[in-house]
Amino acid sequence: MTKMDNPSKLSRRAMLMGTGALVISVGAPLSVDTLLSIDQARAQGAKPPLTPEQLSSYIAVKADGSIAAYFGKMDMGHGLHVAIAQMIAEELDVPFKAVTVYMGDTATSVNQGGASGSTGIQFGGKQMRAASAEARRVLVDMAAAKLSLPADQLAVSDGVVHAKADATKKVSYAELIGGRYFNVQLEWNKQMGNALYAPGKAQPKKYTEHKIVGQPIKREDVAPKVFAQEDYVVDIKVPGMVHGRMIRPPVAGAVPVRVDESSIKGIAGAKVVWQNGFLGVVADKEWGAIQAMQALKVEWSKVDPPFPNQAALYDHIRKAPVRKRAVEGKQTGNVDEAFKTAAKVIEAEYEWPFQSHAPMGPACAVVEIKGDKVNCWSGTQKSHFVQIGLAAQLGVPLDNVHVRWIHGPGSYGRNDADDCAADCAVLAKAVGKPVRLQYMRDQGTGWDPKGPASVHIARAGLDAQGNVIAYDFLSKAFSRVDVNTNGSKLLDTLAGHTLGVPLKSGDGFGVPAESYAFDNKRTAWETIPPLLERSSPLRTSHLRDPVGPQIHFASESFMDEVAAATNQDPIAFRLKHLKDPRDIALIKAAAQKFNWDTRPSPRKDQRGDKVSGRGLAYAQRAGTRVAVIAEVEVDRSSGKIYAKRFTVAHDCGQIINPDGLEKCIEGNIVQGVSRTLWEEVKFDSKNVTSVDWETYPILDITETPEKIDFVLINHPELPPTGAGEPSTRPVAAAIANAIFDATGVRIRRVPFSPEHVKQALS
């Protein structure tokens, strides 16, 4: 069994016999030979309710003394479950291997927000740590009663409570409660999702006592992956299941007006599901569903092409009406007045395209409806929200919907997974059979919610001595929440859009997260309406480090521009203005590791076509801070950029697992390079034309950075903050700054494809 097993995946017998997972209630003991699953135990009232204020909602001790941890978040590939198990084992004083983390199953965990905002450890781990500390306290109290010793004279080793003075006086967790549930109330803050916090009376350990937290423990779920023993969501099979495929319009916004079902009549089990603008097919076999999708004759409504010429995208953003404006972050002084007194004003604009999640495979979901009971298997990042969405969509009570998160084909935010679950539920309800729906490649890349395109305008006012006296930064962009970041409302899914439910596009963006202290400073954002309100392949939502790469590409490129304009070394300039001591220490650590040569950019010592340079960018993110130094090679004749080497300094407070952290950062850097150098969703007036890996290229293995060096700054005395996304944030600016250092040319539009770079250099 791996650290991340999903209980509902296991057969009941395996669960009860093989792993000793019989769990019955403290309050209502059942006879030992009454073998119950967790679901059955709950149905009989033998388990306290699955609510946030119950300790049993997070931690249980199985009959064999091993620990089951029920986690309302899930791992998107960074090995989160390992870190969570470390935090739990630490607090409970059990071996790391004794802990199994069950993730993202709505039947066994409460809504801790799912995979969201790099909060897996920051918030999810915080709760599991508090619950584990409380579980240990309760167990020691139980042992004190059993051993007739005061609790303060007891210690715990490897799940055995014993007298400090006499280790032979002992009782194990298994003997105390194994196979039965805790019935202990926690102090719940009445919040659901990321903000949920429900500690008990116990205080977690001091960091100086940590033995398991901080260790580089490896993932146990790698082996099942490389031996092809692990089920992904695409592998789930349910008896009687048929296969579904969706059909999307050739012109965005068009709806079917005539569908010729006879065009697919030769295909086994082929059926059309057509409801308003929703059009899908099912067939007995997967290949049949694909053939039906391809063969179905559909006449679409005539609609005006909804999109501007792609070349005019950034002009469109600049001219579009502002739907919402917000000034955020720390504001100082009077920016407009200060600019009036400036001796010199530096101004620059930056542009970032729509980007696709483009996961390895398009989304897949399985939905089974049995009367008023619903089962769903999904690669969603937020199974508890999908549960809410499906209950409303299908008109059944929330508790009747069981959503199991199963690994999907990669996930970096609000991708197409939640759309797929809702589409699949429409199909399953319509045909009265369980349906497995997987999108096709062109639908995955072409129709997923996109990372928003944006324009960023930065201005700095300098006095006669070149000091920055005013700084103004504005992003104008499509919203990060045009569709919301979870599937709890049908209106935020493509199914809701095509079915015609009333819509509500949200507004949100962000401002640079840094600690530059300028006397007069303003940071703001403005959002514009979507290009197409309903069923748009360019609807926008969260893509890894939502809006962080865009904003910091602009703000950290601009800091370099100001440094260059005032003939200062880019790091020396930053250190002069940064106020946060951890930011300063971070950048100094990165510079030292990289062996940074202090001088202004650009280099002036290179001739010829092949030139190289280095650039730094840094950012904060919800308590974490990251500095990235890129070394790049530029081929002036081809425009090709090679992001050769990176040095990353990373401070996320307490480090739970340094090896896991490095892997997490490594992926973020490489994906960040891909997004910076290659990624841009292309479209014409009718539709998105980036529909596969040829039309939406990503980084190739031949372009892999040669080396990534890490400086992991550990602050064990501080709470851990997130690492899932922050390190992708400064990558684009670090590369842009390195290109400027190499060439003296500033590139202000992503992606830095050879075509764009060559144009910029000419």
């Binding site: 490389v226 992904y232 290949w287 996961p359 495979g361 999907g408 084909p409 990669g410 490594e666």
Partner: protein, 155 residues
């Protein structure tokens, strides 16, 4: 019209009744119930469906069933087992390569074919052999480390 095909997969013989134009991928997944390889693009652009056909890596998503004949098909599950792992599988575990792991058929099966024919390939030879395969999580640095580690293990 459906025809009957005899497939040799991981050393076992299976009979499949299907449309001759159906890609091998669907026979493996849907008819034989195998959970590897996987659908990534259906266009031979990503590698997620890669299997060996007589030792050569092929993209099962575009390989019609009618073209398989009596070729020996090997999938990732047939490459090695926890008891008898292929060096690449061992190296993948040692280097802790995958994040989501959906892409690994492409990398491991293609690299296995390279290492079967080329002892101690250079970095450029490894990259060139693996060029075009996709990983979206950005594990490329670790993939290269693992292939080099496996090459060293294979002497």
């Amino acid at each position: 019209m459906a025809e009957t095909f005899t497939l040799n997969v991981n050393g076992q013989t299976h009979r499949v009744e299907a449309d001759p134009d159906m890609p091998l991928l669907y026979a493996l997944r849907d008819d034989l119930g195998m959970n590897n390889p996987r659908f990534g693009c259906g266009l031979a652009q990503c590698g997620a469906c890669t299997v060996h056909m007589d030792g050569q890596p092929i993209r099962a998503c575009i390989t019609p069933l009618s073209s398989v004949g009596d070729a020996k098909i090997v999938t990732l599950a047939g490459l090695g087992t926890p008891d008898k792992p292929h060096p690449l599988q061992t190296a993948y575990i040692e280097e802790q390569v995958p994040q989501c792991g959906y892409c690994i058929n492409g990398w491991i099966m293609t690299a296995a074919s390279l290492l079967a024919t080329k002892k101690k390939p250079s970095d450029d030879e490894i990259k060139s052999a693996l060029s075009g395969i996709k990983c979206r999580c950005g594990t490329h640095v670790s993939i290269l480390k693992a292939v080099k580690r496996a090459a060293a293990m294979m002497g």
